[in-house]
Amino acid sequence: MSHAATSTMTARVASGRRSGSLTRTNVRLGERVAEALLLLAAVSSVAITVGIVGVLVFESVSFFRHVPLLDFLTQREWTPLFADAKFGIAPLVAGTLVTTLVALLLAVPVGTVVSMWLSEYAPRRVREWVKPALELLSAVPTVVYGYFALLLVIPALQWIASKVFSYDLPGSNMLGAGLVMGVMIVPYVASLSEDAMRSVPQNLREGAYAMGATRMQTAWKVVFPASISGVTAAYILAISRALGETMVVAIAAGNRPTLTANPLQPAQTITAFIVQVSLGDQQHGSIGYQSIFAAGLTLMLMTLVFNIAGFYLRRRFREAY
C-alpha cells in the first residue's frame, strides 16, 4: 500500500492530476475508516456501562414505585416472593457483609504474609514457580469452590465444632462459605501486593539493612509502608470480589434471608438472592423480577462505596519515589 501511495504521488507530480484507483484520498479514507472502527470499539465499553446502569436504575425505579424507599431501608425482613411480602434489604446486606468480613479476615493476613514472603524472602526461582501456581488457584471456577465448601469444608467445620466445642453447626453457614471465599481471593491479594512491594526501590531496603535491620523488620517497617498504596488497592479488589461473589454463597451459605451478624448461622447474600429468584420462573415486570434489580443496584452501590473509599485512601497514602 505504501508503495502504491508513493507511486501515485509521483504520478500526480508528473501529470499534475489524480490518476489510478489507489489515490492518496483513498488511502486516507481507509485510514479514517479504520480509525473510526477502532474508536467505535473503544466507545462500546462506555455504552456497556450506560447499559448496565440504565437497566439497574430503570427496573429499580419501577420497584420503588411499589415499595417505599423507607421500607426498603428500615424493614428487618426480606420476603419479596411471599404473599405477605416484606421488602427490607437489611438481611441481605447483613449476609453479604458477614461473608465478606469472614473472607477478608482470612485473605488479608494470609495474602499479606505470602506476598511479603514472596517479595522479601523467596529466592527468584521459587517465586517464579509459586506465583503462577497461586494464579491457578484463582482460576478455579467459583462453582467448584462452592462444591468444595459444601461437601468438604463445612463437614470438616461441623466435625471440629461437635468434637471440640460440642456445638451443632448447621449444614450450610456463612463461616464455611466465607472461609472458602477467603481462600479464593488470597491469590489476588498476594499477587497484587507482591507487585507493589517489589516496585519499592532497592535502596530503601539497603538503607534498612545498613542500619542493622533484619529482613522481617525491613519488610514490616520499610517495604510495607512504602507500598501501602498498592497494597490498599489489592485489599479493595479483594473486598469487591468478596461482595460480588455468587456461587460459593449460593451453594454453601444457606438460602434464607436472616438478619444476623453470627457467621455460624445460615443466611442469604444479595447475590445468592438474585440466583434464587432467577432459578424460579419470575414473570417479567412482576415485583419479584424487579426486586432482583433493586438488590443488584444495592450491590453495585456497596461496591462503589468501597472503591471510592479505596481511591481516597490510596491518594492519601501515596508515596512517590
Binding site: S2, A5, G30, E31, E35, L38, L39, A41, A42, V43, S44, S45, V46, I48, G51, I52, G54, V55, L56, E59, V110, V113, V114, M116, L118, Y121, A122, V130, L134, E135, L136, L137, A139, V140, P141, T142, V143, V144, G146, Y147, F148, L150, L151, T214, R215, M216, A219, L243, E245, M247, A250, T271, I274, V275, S278, I292, F293, L299, M300, T303
Partner: protein, 326 residues
C-alpha cells in the same frame, strides 16, 4: 570501646529468631495455599471416581444419576465460548489498539480509560442482570411488539455468549494494551520512516509483535468465561437439556416427527442451552446425594479445561519473556 554488651547480643539473637520464624511462617502459608489446590483436585477426583467413564461425556443429563452425562452442557459450553470469543477478542483487540496507538489525550480517552478500569470490577452477576433487562426484555420492548419474541435475543446461546463476551472484554483490552505498550517506540518510527501509514504500522508491526501477549490475555479471558455461572443463571440457562442445538442443514422435525424443514446456518444461536458450570450447580444443589458424584465429575472436567488453558497461558507468557529482547 568494648565489644557489644550482653543486652545487645540478646536483642540481635531475638530479632534473628523472629526473622527465622517469620520466614518459616511465610513458607508454610505458601505451601498451605498450594495444598488447598491439591486438596481440591484430590477431593474432586475421589468423589468423581465412580463416574469417570467415556459414557459420562456422551450421555445426556438424566433423572437417573448413574446414567447422567454431560453431552449437552459440554456442547453448550463450546458453542457459548465460540460466541464469547467472536465478541470479546475482536472488540477487545480493536479497543486496546485504539487506546494505545490512536487515542489523543482528551476527555473522551479519559472517560474510556476510567470506564474500562471500573467495568473490570463490576460483579459478574450484575452482567447477568444487564443481559436479562437489555438483551432479553429491553430489545423486545423497544424494537418489537410486546410478547413477540422476534426482537429480544431470548434465553439463547447468543445471549449467553454476548454477555460473557462483554464480561471478559476488559481483560482482553488490558492485555492488548500492556503488550502493545511493551513494543519500543523505535519500531513505529522505523515503520513511519519507510513511508508506512499508521494503519500499516499497526497491521504489519504493532499487532504481530504484540500477538503472544494478546493471545495470553485472550486465553485467560476465555478460561474466566468458561467457569462463569452466575450471569448465565440470571439470564435463565436451562438446567435440564436433553437435546443439542440444530446442526446447520440438518432436518428439523416437530414433536410428532413431521419434517418442518432444514435448520439454517445460524439457528443454533437461538437455541436454548445449558453449560458445564450450570449443570454442576444443578447437581450440587439437588437433595439426592447420589448426584454429587456427577457434580464432582463435571467439576473435574471443568477444572481440567480451565487449568489447562491457564497452564498454556503461563507457558506462553514465560516463553515470550525469554524470547523477545528488544
Amino acid at each position: 570501646m568494648t565489644g557489644p554488651t550482653q543486652a545487645t547480643m540478646d536483642l540481635v539473637a531475638r530479632r534473628r529468631r523472629a526473622d527465622g520464624l517469620f520466614a518459616c511462617a511465610g513458607a508454610v502459608l505458601v505451601v498451605l495455599c498450594l495444598g488447598v489446590l491439591v486438596l481440591l483436585v484430590g477431593d474432586l477426583v475421589r468423589d468423581a471416581s465412580a463416574r469417570l467413564h467415556w459414557s459420562f461425556l456422551t450421555n445426556y443429563p438424566s433423572r437417573k444419576p448413574e446414567q447422567a452425562g454431560i453431552l449437552s452442557p459440554f456442547v453448550g459450553t463450546l458453542l457459548v465460548m465460540l460466541v464469547t470469543g467472536c465478541t470479546a477478542i475482536p472488540l477487545g483487540i480493536a479497543a486496546g489498539t485504539y487506546l494505545e496507538e490512536y487515542a489523543r489525550k482528551n476527555w473522551l480517552t479519559n472517560i474510556i480509560e476510567i470506564n474500562i478500569a471500573n467495568l473490570a470490577g463490576v460483579p459478574s452477576i450484575i452482567w447477568g442482570l444487564m443481559a436479562l433487562g437489555l438483551f432479553i426484555y429491553g430489545f423486545e420492548k423497544w424494537f418489537g411488539d410486546p410478547g413477540d419474541e422476534v426482537f429480544g435475543l431470548g434465553r439463547s446461546i447468543l445471549t449467553a455468549g454476548l454477555t460473557l463476551g462483554l464480561l471478559v472484554l476488559p481483560i482482553v483490552i488490558v492485555a492488548t494494551r500492556e503488550s502493545i505498550r511493551a513494543i519500543p517506540q523505535g519500531i513505529r518510527e522505523a515503520s513511519f520512516a519507510c513511508g508506512a501509514s499508521r494503519l500499516e504500522t499497526v497491521r504489519h508491526h504493532v499487532l504481530p509483535y504484540s500477538l503472544p501477549g494478546v493471545l495470553t490475555g485472550c486465553i485467560i479471558a476465555m478460561s474466566r468465561a468458561i467457569g462463569e455461572t452466575a450471569p448465565l443463571v440470571t439470564i435463565g440457562a436451562l438446567s435440564y437439556v436433553a437435546f443439542l442445538p440444530p446442526v446447520p442443514g440438518s432436518v428439523v422435525k416437530d414433536i410428532d416427527g413431521n419434517v418442518m424443514g432444514h435448520a439454517g446456518l445460524f439457528d443454533w444461536l437461538h437455541s436454548g442451552f445449558t453449560v458445564l458450570p450450570i449443570q454442576m450447580f444443578n447437581w450440587v444443589s439437588r437433595p439426592d446425594t447420589r448426584f454429587q458424584a456427577n457434580a464432582a465429575a463435571a467439576g473435574l472436567v471443568l477444572l481440567t479445561v480451565t487449568l489447562l488453558m491457564n497452564g498454556v497461558a503461563i507457558v506462553l507468557r514465560n516463553r515470550m519473556r525469554r524470547n523477545i529482547q528488544w
